[in-house]
């Protein structure tokens, strides 16, 4: 596995550059449903995986809404093609090898520090933005079990919608899914799915 070689200064620059890119590409970036951040907790940010942008979108949330240092779990072959992201907190996971366990333990290790945030896409592959079911890979259970420090789990459902614009807008629906270790895995999966349904419903009446 490839661990992150996060350089704070470069990450900050990159985050600002990507914020500029996103403001150019999107009409609005809206947090439609806010979440209360628990002080002294690290954050495990679980996101729906629907497109090219969502790693950057998650990084944006980490910087400007959740106020933590972000690390992103990426597929090994994808990271190898873009090793620059390694400097901004990207670390790898290879689902087909034994090293997967190492990656999960590494992610759990990062979460022992309350300043950190780890972005994970629990679906493990690209799935339509319109899906009404989020499948959560087994590895997440192992990741959560390995976390020793206090860690808050947040589910982020990002939805793309247009309304009165030619540019798309992103609507983030954030949900608090409890503290790692206190919620059994099956319950967490169920909770993520109910949150996702809730987000889809809320999206219909979202302000525009």
């Amino acid at each position: 596995m490839i661990p992150a070689r996060r350089v704070k200064l470069f990450s900050n620059w990159f985050a600002m550059y990507m914020r500029y890119r996103m403001r150019k590409a999107f009409n609005r970036l809206v947090v439609a449903n806010k979440v209360v951040i628990k002080p002294g907790h690290s954050i495990l940010l679980l996101c729906n995986h629907f497109g090219w942008w969502d790693g950057f979108l998650a990084n944006y949330l980490a910087y400007w809404h959740l106020f933590r240092k972000s690390y992103v779990m990426m597929q090994e072959d994808h990271l190898k093609k873009r090793m620059l992201l390694n400097l901004f907190g990207g670390f790898s996971i290879n689902r087909s090898s034994r090293e997967m366990v190492k990656s999960l333990q590494y992610a759990a290790g990062l979460l022992n520090n309350p300043e950190n945030l780890v972005v994970v896409f629990p679906q493990g592959e690209l799935i339509s933005n319109h899906t009404n079911e989020i499948k959560v890979e087994k590895g997440i259970e192992r990741l959560i079990k390995n976390i020793k420090g206090p860690c808050q789990i947040v589910y982020n459902c990002a939805l793309i919608d247009y309304f009165e614009s030619l540019k798309p807008s992103v609507f983030f629906h954030l949900f608090d899914c409890g503290i790692a270790g206190e919620v059994p895995f099956d319950e967490l999966v169920e909770k993520i799915n109910t949150c996702h349904q809730q987000a889809l419903k809320a999206q219909i009446d979202v302000e525009h």
Partner: protein, 202 residues
Amino acid sequence: MIYPQKNKLITWFFHNYILRIVKADFHAVKFNAVEVERGKSVLLLANHFSWWDGFLMYYINHKVFKKRFHVMVIEETVKEVSFFKYMGAFSVSKSSREMLASLDYAAQLLNDPENLVLIFPQGKLYSNFVDEVDFQKGLSKIMQQAAGKFLTIMAATFIENLQYRKPTANVYLKVEGDLSDVQAAYQQHYDNAKQQQTKIVI
């Protein structure tokens, strides 16, 4: 009520403009091929979730139906965006007498087999994530008046990013034969389209 106007230069310019922005802003516009009978006009019903869907339907008309494009637009929008009327837009307003004139005009257009009339039966912008498509009143009046002269085509559009930076528009088209309950027929088509859409995994 505002009627479509003719000006070859403006139409030529915005024809190219629309095709160009569709090409530039989307990675691809995907649609399924449908067979259209010659000698019948087309009534195109589409879901309304953004500014794009009029342009996307214009693009699809250019690629598939190749008819004269007409679209029913809210009066304020036609006034605000002045080039719409040169691209076949005619106005509709919520007040009843004006609305009747617009509906009559739409039915009249459908009598000519060279025409295509695009209507967004939802009447205003909704999210792309709605499950139920609500129709406004008035559509059945057009369909009664022009009965037998036109072909109804339903379009359900969904936007998706996936592995590309630019979005992809997926347009699901279907020729509808049963016209007894348009809203139910559209809903069924919409549900099917959405189901296909949610199955996309990469």
